[in-house]
């Protein structure tokens, strides 16, 4: 039985807007989820889905209207819970008048470390996040990628058991994203649990063990990645050359879609269609088979299918 690290039960948040604060806006609607030890958990959803609200509720930066949340068995509102966690806010702006070294020393001092302990921690993190060379530079002179790395450094200054990252890859160039991705994987290798929110699907596919998908404040799907996407082949793509599209259509029948691009044609066969017969038929007609690819449902297909249908409710236990 895996240890539950993050637990949310019926977590809801309603904001009141308008001049008299009378108009309620439901930002999160009874979210229940469990995150287990040493997994990378992705919180996925379009903009305004409630990802940041979830993270802020877990950080106790906002208070829930209903429900509760615990981290390692401690209420998220407690100071003890915050000793065990690290948090990187969305597009963070840190104290720009501080140097990277001063900034990390400041945040480290909030954990009450001794001077020598603090010094060695800060030096280690500056090296780990590759900003050691710029440690004497004020943060206002940092690039977005460097700031994000300093942000991760401050999130792990206390060697936390759980790390929360809000959109850690947003606004970064491919190299920056790769660096952050490697850092996240390194944190997992060190035994930490990572909870991160994103709308970049590729990051989820490459990093996450399990995900939760939010849309309009509701959890609309969650579970292990390999269970969520059908592993079965959804269709087979056959690329053919040396045969005219008309001839090809006559060969395979009207129910199989054919698209043409220059001298090659692409067939999209359902898994049940007689692949061997079709290939044999094409070869008999002097056509050349360029490739045969079994296609699986992608993360993007799954995400769009769910978000396109917000009313669909999956089993939140996954």
């Amino acid at each position: 039985m895996q240890q539950v690290v993050i637990l949310a039960k019926g977590l809801s948040k309603t904001y009141r807007t308008g001049f008299w604060k009378t108009k309620p806006v439901l930002a999160l609607d009874s979210l229940s989820l469990e995150v287990f030890e040493n997994e990378i958990f992705g919180c996925l959803g379009p903009n305004g889905a409630g990802k940041s609200t979830t993270l802020k509720l877990l950080m106790s930066l906002i208070y829930p209207t209903a429900g509760y949340a615990e981290i390692l068995g401690k209420s998220v509102a407690s100071i003890e819970a915050r000793r065990l966690i690290g948090y990187l806010p969305e597009s963070p702006y840190f104290y720009e008048y501080l140097t990277a070294e001063e900034f990390l020393t400041y945040y480290g001092s909030l954990f009450g470390y001794s001077k020598s302990e603090l010094k060695s921690r800060v030096a280690r993190l500056l090296k780990l996040t590759d900003v050691f060379h710029a440690r004497k530079l004020q943060l206002r002179k940092f690039s977005k990628g460097m700031l994000q790395r300093v942000g991760i450094a401050q999130a792990i200054i206390n060697d936390p058991k759980v790390v929360f990252l809000d959109e850690p890859m947003s606004g970064l160039d491919p190299i920056g994203r790769r660096e952050i991705r490697d850092l996240i994987l390194q944190l997992k290798a060190e035994g930490k649990t990572i909870f991160f929110s994103t709308h970049i699907l590729n990051d989820v596919e490459t990093l996450c063990d399990r995900i939760a998908i939010l849309n309009r404040g509701k959890l609309i799907g969650s579970g292990a990645l390999n269970k969520l996407f059908a592993q079965d082949v959804s269709h087979i793509e056959v690329v053919v050359s040396g045969i005219s599209p008309e001839k090809l259509r006559g060969l395979v029948g009207v129910e199989i879609p054919v698209t043409t691009n220059g001298s090659t044609s692409r067939l999209s066969l359902s898994a049940q269609a007689g692949l061997t017969e079709i290939i044999a038929g094409i070869e008999r007609a002097s056509g050349k088979i360029v490739s045969v690819n079994p296609a699986r449902q992608t993360m993007e297909d799954y995400f769009l299918k769910l978000v396109g249908k917000p009313e669909r409710q999956l089993n939140p236990k996954g």
Binding site: I62, Y87, S91, F94, Y95, L98, E102, Y107, L110
Partner: protein, 257 residues
């Protein structure tokens, strides 16, 4: 206790934002005034330099207390630094206390350096000190307490309001607070019981900045009893503490959207 690192960082922010540069203006003002007054032989030049020095300390201090005070909390929320800070094991009351103490330390340094400047000017003009000159230091301490009260007002507004409105409210309270005893006298002389109730409620509820008004008496070398210093300082500190507690109470309940 996480108050100290937060206070220290607030002080550092003020220094890096070049708040203490006002000392340069003060230095120029005191030096130029002393040189001019040095050439004048008639009248009490010492009285003028003390009056000028202490008034400038108070004026500069009030400007810093208001304009930095209103941003103390607002800036941290606006720049989103409060998100990462409060996700550390820091209680919200420690954050507010740290901010208050940090700016108070900044102003303490500011006032201390300026008071030294005033003593320097007195020494330059009179070549020696007299016993009642110790009252300059006591006046400086009382000005600092007054400034702490202004910080507390600005801090309170900055926990729920925009900087522009906070500045307006704080400045209004500072002005009204200086006429507070007039309001009481007006109420006492009025025959309407309504006016009496409103005037005395205003007097007791709003800060009475008249309590700290000892600059002109200090400049004239009048004796001020230790009881006046003690009571005025105690009044300012207790009032500030009350405002900081209200600021904490508001900040505790806030959502950081």
């Amino acid at each position: 206790m996480k108050v100290w690192p937060i206070a220290r960082n607030t002080f550092r922010e003020c220094v890096r934002d070049k708040v203490l540069y006002n000392l340069v203006i003060f230095a120029v003002l005191i030096i130029v005034s002393s040189l001019i007054l040095g050439t004048i032989t008639i009248g009490d030049v010492k009285q003028i330099i003390i009056n000028l020095g202490l008034s400038t300390i108070s004026l500069f201090g009030v400007f810093i207390a208001i304009f930095i005070g209103i941003q103390l909390v607002y800036k941290e929320i606006d720049k989103k630094t409060v998100y990462s800070l409060l996700s550390k094991p820091v209680a919200r009351h420690e954050f507010i206390l740290g901010k208050f103490i940090g700016l108070s330390i900044t102003l303490a340094v500011n006032v201390a350096v300026m008071i030294l400047g005033v003593y320097g000017a007195v020494l330059y003009l009179r070549h020696s000190f007299q016993a009642q000159d110790s009252q300059i230091l006591l006046a400086g301490i009382l000005i600092l307490v007054e400034l702490m009260l202004v910080i507390a007002i600005a801090l309170l507004f900055s926990t729920f309001s925009t900087p522009a409105l906070s500045a307006l409210f704080t400045f209004s309270l500072y002005i009204i607070g200086h006429f507070n005893s007039d309001i009481r006298e007006y109420g006492a002389s009025s025959e309407s019981w309504m006016t009496k109730v409103v005037a005395s409620t205003t007097y007791y509820l709003l800060p009475n900045f008249g309590n700290f008004d000892i600059i002109s008496r200090t400049a004239h070398g009048q004796f001020i009893s230790s009881r006046v210093y003690m009571l005025s300082a105690a009044y300012g500190l207790v009032y500030s503490l009350g405002l900081v507690l209200v600021a904490i109470w508001i900040f505790q309940k806030r959502d950081f959207k």
